[in-house]
Symmetry: D2
């Protein structure tokens, strides 16, 4: 069977990881990536010997060429060569790129920074895979929502959920960011947080609300989840479910996983490229009960958590697998998520 041809628009924090994730899929071919300027990530690509072809989003802008980056063609060249685009352009740019995708009748997957209207379906591999099957334009949930839904969907399929309330303790910048930051301050966002609203768009049967607070760190969000199950769930049930979920990593404070920085260190020591993790982590010592409600804390590695669900989206849109569990299983296999 011919491999599905994939392109990536935007070679930034997310785009690089999308490209790496696609390149690992045995049934996909990464045709190339596109960007507009010789950022550090693009310079690193060159330093590595251009394992991915680079296409120029703005051919009239020659800054990449001037920096000595080999350019393989224009953005339209790339779009014409693929079956589907993963668009991780800065927020709002994807909507403009969509015109090009339509022009060449290509499929595309947009990221959380775009408006929902850009897509035919707001997608999450585990929660609503079927909705994406055969669609032309899909939009992925953002990093927090993607990770959160993994845990909520896991409980919902096991016991049914009446409602969910979350507190998001959010990292404010990525490692290396100099264009945004917070210094010695916590910042409250107006509630309910968009992640709670997004969850309800994906899972309309589960009322959800929540509060988000920004914190001055760079390595991962921590979310506390309070879920009201329809059937009784015990603490050990959550722990066992987490142990069985390919995209959830069960961890213990007692083993040295003291917080988000421990997870980043562990992923670096594992030799994962960039110290990335595809899994959310769930702490055993965080699981408590509030009456019959269940409460626990998860860690969201914001740079890489959405990669698996993006790959799922390709599978669904291209009808590579039409069944939810078959689709996510194939992604998991190639990403080594067991």
């Amino acid at each position: 069977m011919a491999k599905v041809k994939v392109g990536v628009a935007g070679y930034g924090v997310i785009g690089q990881r999308l490209a790496d994730g696609v390149a690992l899929q045995g049934d996909m071919e990464l045709v190339g990536v596109a960007d507009v300027a010789p950022t550090l990530s693009v310079r690193a690509l060159k330093q590595k010997g251009m394992p991915y072809k680079m296409f120029n989003v703005s051919p009239e802008n020659k800054s990449m060429e001037e920096a000595g980056i080999p350019v393989s063609g224009s953005f339209e060249d790339l779009v014409q060569s693929v079956d589907i685009m993963l668009d991780s352009s800065p927020g709002g740019v994807g909507a403009k790129n969509k015109e090009i995708y339509k022009k060449y009748n290509k499929k595309a997957v947009f990221q959380g920074g775009e408006k929902n209207e850009v897509a035919d379906v707001f997608f999450h591999g585990y929660a609503n895979y079927e909705m994406g099957v055969g669609q032309q334009f899909l939009k992925l949930t953002s990093c927090n929502t993607t990770g959160l839904i993994r845990a909520v969907d896991m409980m919902d399929r096991a016991a049914g959920l009446e409602k969910v309330a979350i507190t998001i303790i959010r990292r404010v910048a990525d490692p290396g960011d100099y264009h945004r930051g917070l210094t010695n301050a916590l910042q409250l966002e107006k509630a309910p947080s968009h992640q709670a609203l997004d969850l309800m768009t994906i899972m309309p049967h589960i009322p959800c609300t929540g509060i988000l607070v920004h914190t001055p760190v760079t390595h991962g969000h921590i979310i506390t989840v309070l879920a009201t199950p329809k059937k009784k769930i015990e603490k050990k049930d959550i722990w066992e479910m987490a142990n069985e979920h390919p995209r959830i990593m069960p961890v213990r404070v007692a083993d040295g996983f003291l917080g988000n920085a421990s997870l980043f260190r562990y992923a670096r020591d594992l030799g994962n490229p960039r110290g990335d993790m595809y899994e959310i982590a769930l702490w055993e010592e965080s699981i408590v009960k509030s009456g019959d409600d269940i409460m626990f804390a998860i860690n969201i590695p914001q740079e890489s958590v959405v990669i698996p669900e993006n790959i799922d989206a390709i599978r669904a849109a291209m009808k590579m697998q039409t069944d939810r569990l078959e689709g996510v299983a194939m992604t998991n296999k190639y990403l080594n998520l067991l």
Copy 2:
């Protein structure tokens, strides 16, 4: 009527503020404070001209005298001169000081760092004032618990509460701390947090659980509170109650109160000594409903929040007021909490 004579043990972050708070009470006399070394706070006291008399906790240790700090006597001298001691010594030292208080048959109020067994009653001015009336040894709740109980007690008296679940986003160090800190990391504590357990000690009729995460900031904790009321409460009810509570400051993101750092800045601009606030803040834009549950966020100014309840404790222990509302009202009057 003779003023109640008060001494303060430990002139650190809390002790200084206790001394200032007592000095503001028209019906109390601050006899003096006690410490053991010429810390920056002790040096600042001298620089200000010794508005409070200093007593030496370890008379054999002459480091204060050597640094030129005027010393008015020994710790035992201070204890003998007072009716009641506020003990803000480092955790564990209070238990040792208790022997001296017993020797001279004096009353004392301990802080959250001591074990519960040190005291006859675990005390909160608003929640269980009556329990402290006439007691010899009281222990105050810690900073987070003190602020949290203000909000929980407010709702409980209005509507009754079935249960409470909290997420504590905690500052990891005070401004000026060099002996502890966290750098670019969130740290999870084993759940349930002690604050949830402490709340149940003070308010045994309200089941409470919660998760605590340390964050690398210095100016105040943010707690999200999810409460299940027995009677229906609307968002506006919470806001109105907060507006009427003398120790809760209702704030709006829209007015510029973006987080804990805004509150510190506002208190500094108000000219409050040290930029302190006695009130917790409650954000209007944080109030949401999860089914019939109510959820919101509060800010805990960790250095100063416990001062009013400590003063309440003096009033209760010394039977200055035997009625809860009369007791807290007198504290509020002298602290200008209206």
Copy 3:
């Protein structure tokens, strides 16, 4: 003698402190302050009972009035009522305000954020007071430069300086700032830093260069100064000079002054409004020699350090004192800098 009438444009971080500083001068009258919106600082002014009159910079913008802030008139009303304006408007706005000052033939002192061309003289109370005497428009050095020049001028007057090289370890945001920040990153600026260039504008006889690095903290810059003296200076000479300088606070690590956060804590414990300090600090344990060069570290409290030199500028411009030492001495007296 009639008091000199002063107005302050911009009631932000600097403007508030300028107003407080002017209000302390026995020979000046603070006519009022001007701003454009109900910021937290303006709300705090109202909460304190409007000790200073507020004038509206943009009378067509009614947001202050809508927030219940009593407004005493327009910006032009304020300008007409004063002898001299201290302009701490956001960078660039001062240049526009200058047209109003010229229209009414008033003097003005601008802050470091304006371009040098806005003023007749670039001013520092200790280094070039005489240059400001009788001038209409003065511009103050920025916070780092102001503090740095105090130390450099002190050495230069004692021993003559051949050259200076500095490393500025800069705080990236003020307490309460949410519009800028840096998270887990050091940021290098292109060298030489503007502070080195500004020093040479004020003291053209001393070649100066330097490197500036931003750090994610809020409470004060630390500058290392390496000076090449013309006459030999020993470590103890620096320490003695620092002890005698009214605007330099000599501190010791051994006494607990471990860094910028210790100084902020000390100032808070002193009861200084907002925890401010007018003095730079100089650490005894930082003084070392590199051959005949002398090297040491100073702390710059960025929010308040420029206040004394601004007051000096009023004295010079208004010819209240025409002699340098008489001018700064009068400022020091009223600011209690001994």
Copy 4:
């Protein structure tokens, strides 16, 4: 020729990287690593399938075995099987291990945390390789000193240096550290910093002094270096030398290298394991002149910078190469430093 057999004591931040570095050398064999407890790093080793054999430093402590870590023998077993040990145990433990090395007549290289007395020679690959040739016990310089000496040695060999003064802007913790940290504070150490003293031990002909300030970041130190050359050096000379040095990476702010966090991001994007870099970086835009003195800023990646010089130390001690340039060149070749 038989490969030199190497063991690593302590599988922490440094030890892991030493093991990886040795494993890359074509003429060395990594026999194994030793540790005492199932830290995250040891757990990661197991998760990766034990590419390195683990030996138990405290055979009576079975915590590694209990955590399921395969253990290949005792620490003494490891020592007996090697020609030379790289000892990256916690500070002070190396001195105790030395007794075991002596017992079996093995060579060893200690890290900066040990006292100088532990070794026969205090070593730096570029600066004093010859001193280490054939020695039994070597001690490496610490991370800052190692990186600093690269730059100082480079200038000294080109132009001779009369003296050096440094300001070290130090990261306070490594990514993942929870046992130490600093929150919103800069901390000054007593001057001169040990790095300046250590430099003079390695290069006794160059007087050096300096000041060190801790900052709350995790990804690399920045040092400003002010050097007084004997022969005139221009800015472009420094830049050209940096371009030619295999262990110095010349970078530009204009290319996006804004600070230490940019370098970490770049190394992650390069795919370097753990996002590590062996090179110090030197910024073109930081190079300035102060009279005839030259000043610039370098970045020290604290976790990995000492690896090359440790490998050099093996080469010297084992007389694999007796010539300085041949020794460092072989290390550079295997570490891909060109």
